[in-house]
């Protein structure tokens, strides 16, 4: 089992979700995140004080997948999230020892 984590632009979330669903991914966990990187933030001004906001909003997805599906999933996310502009995000893959479905106690392949 692998854990695919992807950080993408928020307005791409819907497309990624649909692409993953088409690719047969039935579940994932999503968190709101902020990204720091080459993509510039912006400047806010409040009564003469300028603030550089270096963080930009991102969506962070986690999908636990069978080893066999890793490439499809990474590929699907990458192409659905791509705009070609700086800040499109990253996808990384981590080995997973085991997975449990809380409801049933099923493990590993049966759990995702």
């Amino acid at each position: 089992m692998k854990l695919v984590t992807a950080v993408i632009k928020p307005h791409k979330w819907e497309e990624v979700r649909e692409a993953l669903a088409s690719a047969g991914v039935a579940g994932m966990t999503v968190t709101e995140a902020s990204g720091y990187g080459q993509q510039k933030g912006h400047t806010e001004v409040y009564r003469g004080a300028e603030y550089d906001v270096s963080l930009v909003p991102k969506i962070r997805l986690e999908v636990v997948v069978d080893d066999a599906d890793v490439e499809t999933v990474v590929g699907t996310i990458t192409s659905a999230a791509q705009t070609g502009k700086i800040g499109d995000g990253k996808v990384w893959v981590i080995p997973v020892d085991s997975v449990v479905r809380v409801r049933t106690g099923e493990t590993d392949e049966a759990a995702v």
């Binding site: 307005h11 819907e14 912006h42 400047t43 806010e44 001004v45 300028e50 906001v53």
Partner: protein, 420 residues
Amino acid sequence: MDGYYAFMLVATALVLLMTVPALALFYGGMSRAKSVLNMLMMSYVAAAVVGLVYVLWGWSMSFSEDELLGGLFSNPFTHFGLKGVEAGDLIYVCFQMTFAIITAALISGAIADRVKLSAWVVFLPIWVTLCYFPLAHMVFGLGYLHSIFPAQDYAGGTVVHINAGVAGGVLALIIGKRLGFGREPMKPHNLPLTMIGAGLLWFGWYGFNVGSIVFVEGDGGELDTAQFLTETGVTFLNTTIATMAALLAWLAVEKLLHGKASSLGAASGIVAGLVAITPACGAVEPVGAIAIGAISGAVCSWAVGLKYKLGFDDSFDVVGVHLVGGIIGTVLIGLFSSASAPGGIDGLLYGGGLGSLGDQAGAAAFAIVWTGVLTALIAFAIKYTIGWRIDEEDEVEGIDFAEHGESAYDIATNTGSSHF
């Protein structure tokens, strides 16, 4: 009659409250979190720009005794800068000013999230000059329109709501949709804000409607006092119960069509009822007020869904609520108007025949055409000169950063960096 005068001081402040902050909040809550400040700003800036223009030439153009072009409007220079206006009349100037302000501010709901502040600031004085002041003169000042269609419009069904509704619709069409409209979710980001706005609008509307009393005798004495008591009692009651009926009717239709009665529906129903009773509040009996409110609530509840079918992005339904509600209120006077109400003549259902109905429909149609054509001209002129819209990327990132350099909320942990 200094009681009446005291009431006008309060009424004027109440109508200003309707724009700043009530309408701003009502719209702001419906916008997305990344554009709420821009939405608020459109109302606040409208108040400032239109208010100053009103003092310069707006009052004169609406109400000076020097009519031009057969009564389309009055001479803007007669009382330019309020010269020659008596101090004791200044509260009426302020009262009327607040009407011009809210009418202009109402339009902003149709073009949320996408318009440059500079374009809005250019649009405002031109629009009130070409569309608002003439209609105010023709209806409230008994100018040309009144001479061809002597319609009843107690507090501004044509001048305020139809006017703003048409302008909003025209701008939404010419300026175009928000990026992602109909595809991305654009749901209200803060409904309690919208509910505060609706509540304060209701409160302020008593200034709007009840303050619109005009004295017949004007003797400053006993007859005026009697009129003050009876007329304001009727307009207060009618405003109240029409709004209540509209709230319930909106919810009922929603429940029927979508299975749930929503808080946005309640807030919207309040506004739909207030809009429809605005022209009618002095002309109908309680049963008429309830009927007008209920019809407006029910029809507007259904009408706000149309924009998706027609494919235009009137963001917060200025057409669906103010144009539709304004027409309903204006035209139904022809049916429900009753001579027993202080400002009423008998309408169709009270044996008064079709005359009133014709006048009401005619006035509504005239206002629609007048403002429709002129707003389109202004909108195209701005489109092809300075342009209306912000950059696409700015729109995606959020207009609040792009135009105002701000973000509305920083409620969770603060992770920005700063330098001064």
